[in-house]
Symmetry: C2
Subunit: 333 residues, 2 copies
Amino acid sequence: MKDGEQMATIRDVAKLAGLSVATVSRAINGSGYVSEESRQKIEHAVAELDFRPNEVARSLFQKKSKLVGLLLPDISNPFFPLLAKGVEDFLQKKGYQVILGNVQENPERANDYLHAFHQNNVAGVLSAVDNDYAFYDNVHPLVFLDRVGNDSEYSIHADDVSGGAIAARAILKRKTKQIIVISGPKEIDRSKERLQGVLSVLEESKKDYSLVHSASFLLEDAIITAQTVFKQFPTVDTVIAPSDIHAIALIQEAYRHNIKVPKDLQVIGYDDIPISNLVVPPLTTIHQPAYEMGYKGAEMLYKLMNEQEVKQKKLILPTRLIERDTLRKKETQ
Amino acid sequence: MKDGEQMATIRDVAKLAGLSVATVSRAINGSGYVSEESRQKIEHAVAELDFRPNEVARSLFQKKSKLVGLLLPDISNPFFPLLAKGVEDFLQKKGYQVILGNVQENPERANDYLHAFHQNNVAGVLSAVDNDYAFYDNVHPLVFLDRVGNDSEYSIHADDVSGGAIAARAILKRKTKQIIVISGPKEIDRSKERLQGVLSVLEESKKDYSLVHSASFLLEDAIITAQTVFKQFPTVDTVIAPSDIHAIALIQEAYRHNIKVPKDLQVIGYDDIPISNLVVPPLTTIHQPAYEMGYKGAEMLYKLMNEQEVKQKKLILPTRLIERDTLRKKETQ
DNA sequence: TTGAAAGCGGTACCAT
DNA sequence: ATGGTACCGCTTTCAA
């Protein structure tokens, strides 16, 4: 890049300021002694030359760059861009750059990225890919976002057991004939916990329900699942979905069958992705703080990278019900 | 990262293979002579030590890394993750990593990222942020994706004039009473061209229409715009939207007013983001090949980075009509 | 308070 | 065909 003039180096600054590179380095990093007079000269020279330290050279010496690796399962799932945005907003303020690793739910690719991150001396990694998918041995520091590995020391995710329970309780307040609970991929802790939260409430209240399984959070699987629901359970009138995408796909399938939402079919989603507020009817769902998760996860990683104390190694963020229009009126209060 | 054992260096490999670092380097890079025998030894040593060259050291020497900067206007706009996915899929195969720069439509941030990219010796940059927003002088090689700066030499984007025309022609095949054309932000070439395509067809056919302006492609502005449309034009029965988000927001606003789509209001979107096929009713829209744009843009950049010939400096990708359910039946034909 | 010099992990020139 | 070595730009001892 920048081909015009060669980029100024610390040597150019030193020459212009009439000092040694060592002094310039100290001045720039605020390490060691530098006289006020020298500081002035250096400041001017830096401005004059528009000098910016070469991060690569720094990284080579420090064995640590200002780069952070971010592993995402699937960037086309709207939940993850939100996460990524939170991550970037925090790290950008701290002068870190993020290297994107979009794994496409592909274990091999996760490991390739982890190696690439390492070869680039990343200062840390943030991962939303659980460790069935990748070998994290020796990746350090490491903070898991959303999807959490069993043995992960640092992590941040939503309170999905509680989120699932909230969804189920919202359903119990309505009249229901046949409840279908869609379960997400069982390898993913997040969806297991959601399901667990839902089922515990349903069972405690002795409500009948049937399960339909969805293979993944991919759009295609959400569509297939929606079709399955109506095929297997033509009389379904209530669905608890494991994601907003699932819920939206279901609403569309209902529309194709000329089933009215929420009159004939009520649906509750999960995630509260931005679009869920724009669909017809606006989706009632469980809000998961994706942006905040990314932001706080980055903050945790930052502390780890800079040897600051992390008071809470496992952060669990609250979920909450967003009441919109896909559930029927409450029966009881 | 990897704290356990120190990462193996090329010197370790040389020692284990009983050869010099120069020979090992040649073997690894396939540059210069290496005897078959030496090659074998080196191969074993590399495997034994699980050696992977430190990209930072390489980058320092070469003044060029295996990193590519990707500037995006807004990662939470579903169009851009698709682009990013295409970019990553291509570059990952070629051994490049992408540094994410999410600009949030903020000029200052664009420049910060450009500097950061530079300080990290990126081999090139891909930008979907037009140059009113950033100073690209000396950023090289540079390929613009989607949003194209005036003086950009290399670029790839959709044929939006034609896309706009296709949308307008689809509308002309239907009966209309009052057509509203929503214009996107005028600073963005893409939306200018869409509008131009729409208007040229409408004017040629002497159709009346009214314009409503939308400040940006942000969700919030799409909602505001939808409200404006109904407030200013209560009798609107046809809308040409500048993005799917705008169209979806409009459909929801119609729903709130109890206006039926497409019976009382027909809408055509633009982009064909994944969710457009999941909403109710499924959105008729103009498909823009976002993934392909990212993929091919990355390919173009790759050629530039590796001094390969680029036959076409400005690639314009075709758009096409995706007929779904938000337009009424054709009148003629 | 300052500076000379070693070294981070590679690459490539130049001998041999 | 191989290896010694300077060097990429910066940081950090260590001596002055």
